[in-house]
Amino acid sequence: MRGLRLALDLQESVRIAFGALRANKARGALTTLGIIIGIVAVITTMTAANGLRNTFRESFSSVGADVLYISRMPWVIQDDFFLYRNRPPIDYKEARELEKHLRGSAVANPTMNGRQDTKYRSERMDGVTIIGTTEKQLLVSNAQPAVGRFILPFEVNYKHKVCVIGNDVRKGLFGEVDPLNKEMKIGRTTFRVIGVMEEQGGGSFFGGPNFDRQIYIPITAFVGAFGGLHGRQDVNIAVKAPSEAAMGDLEYKLIGEMRKLRGLRPTEKEDFSINRLDTLVGAFNNVMGVVLLVGLLITSISLFVGGVGVMNIMFVSITERTREIGIRKAIGAKPHSIMLQFLFEAAVICLLGGVIGIVISAGVTVAINASLMPANLSLSILFIALVVAVSVGLLAGLVPAWRGARLNPIEALRYE
């Protein structure tokens, strides 16, 4: 019985709300406009944040989530940089040593990198990231060669001057030419192209690495051509955990092995860092979270203004319909029925604003995507927008509806 009454009250509220909107089209449109602007502002902020996050994730998709990276420096420095600057670099010998210790329990791949200018015939490409690596590169990262093949073990052992180029490098240097078995210059050394990596996409993420603008060469050749065995070597070691669950244990093991290798006493701090994608993602999310929060704070002011507009209109609406409220009360409408009626009306105005706002936001998102920066409108954003719109309506309608519900029926009936 209660359920039925509520259903009937709601049904009547729907009828009244749409009747009122139909009767006051211009007013309804203007009120809705305030909500539309607010919703568009909020959604656009969220889509922008969402787009950035997706691009970030995409651009690091080739970096395995189950891989630990041993490096001299932490990827994200949250305290003082000077605490780290005097650390000794990890050299190639240490890396080989560690690899031996880990044999059988985890795959370790040492890499070195630097920037070099490259050239093929008359085509030049400056500042390309050169990565000295081994055949195990394919085991620790998700990227695979699309054309040709990757570096083989004997090429690492015998310092062969071969290279596997990223897709942007292929486009930049070779254009339409088939790059396989072509000779190209990296720095002053000539390398033979044996493969092209598949496109990673994502592009350069705000100064982050562009994984398509890279060239892989055997690490031994890297040392020979650019590192110099006794020069400043700075090797990173990627270690792939057997599973993501085993990463914690692996991290302890790596710390232990590295300390042993470096002969650190128990009181001494580590002079190396174990990095993982999580730390990077975490740091990014922190920054992103703050940006999103500030953005939402600012944009929600416009939504608030829209809500005030709705509240204002609801007060007007209740004053206009005072007599009608009196009639309804006289024939048996309870206070909560009247309350529901006006709450519903406010919610409908805002929901309408929300829906129109979403449609406009979809357009704005496309425009931003095309011109400014990545933006992505997801289902959850749509859902949040609708919930927010309706909540704004309910909040804005609360006080006016309450006032309507409490009207004295006699005075309301007498109202002209």
């Binding site: 009937l8 009360k329 048996g332 409408a333 909560h336």
Partner: protein, 246 residues
């Protein structure tokens, strides 16, 4: 046609020493100063008096739109004084049918919806609602105006819609406040004829009026003056309840 009350005996409502005081700014207005009266079931009562006599206040109290400041009011055995707004609304919905001088229809709603409204607030299901609203509209002879808005109807027709709305939940008491005040005398007579029929069908009817010829329809007339009952007398009917409906 359902008769509302079985035999027309018994007490429909009783006021005992009812006072009503309004505070207007700093001044207290004593609208009712101790009214006691009883209305039996199926009685036809006219409440009369000059303006300011308290007849509107009395009607509001009887109609449960307002509660007395002092004194007791019982409606069909139920004390009204301590009821919440919700409970009062339910009583108004089920037990009382209002007919106002200014019709008080909802302007944007058509005839059918206006009549259907008390059923909605009473929690009646859609199909039953349709049947009962249509039969109430038929009873006042407006079946062919179902989809018309109030502003497409004449004054008499609007008052018929109001009557249909008042009787749709088959309340025991029909409370009419100057029901012919905005109508010409011929239309007024038609409306009063409907009240006669409703009286004959078993409803208790209370009409507030200042016109003697309207009061003549009633079988009892109560005169108020300065918030007190001045006279309360039964009298002969001008038109006997002959217009029984088929």
């Amino acid at each position: 046609m359902k008769a509302v009350t079985g035999n027309g005996n018994g007490v429909a409502l009783a006021l005992h020493d009812v006072e009503k005081t309004y505070v207007m700014g700093t001044e207290k207005v004593h609208a009712l100063r101790g009214v006691s009266l009883q209305v039996r079931k199926n009685e036809y009562v006219a409440i009369m008096g000059p303006s300011g006599s308290g007849k509107s206040t009395l009607m509001n109290v009887i109609g449960c739109l307002d509660v007395p400041t002092k004194g007791n009011y019982t409606l069909e055995g139920q004390a009204v004084a301590d009821m919440t707004q919700s409970e009062l609304a339910e009583i108004r919905n089920l037990r009382i049918g209002f007919v106002f001088q200014t019709f008080n229809l909802i302007p944007r709603a058509d005839v059918f919806h206006n009549v259907e409204l008390p059923l909605i607030y009473g929690g009646v299901r859609s199909r039953e609602r349709r049947e009962r609203a249509e039969s109430a509209i038929a009873r006042v002879g407006l079946s062919d105006r179902m989809k018309h808005k109030p502003n497409e109807l004449s004054g008499g027709q609007r008052q018929r819609v109001a009557i249909a709305r008042a009787i749709v939940l088959n309340p025991s008491i029909i409370l009419a406040d100057e029901p012919t005040g905005n109508l010409d005398s011929r239309t007024g007579d038609e409306i009063m004829a409907i009240f006669d029929e409703l009286h004959a069908a078993g409803h208790t009817i209370i009409v507030v009026t200042h016109e003697d010829y309207i009061a003549d329809y009633a079988s009892r007339s109560i005169r108020l003056k300065d918030g007190l009952v001045e006279s309360d007398e039964a009298k002969g009917r001008k038109a006997m309840a002959g217009g029984l409906m088929s």
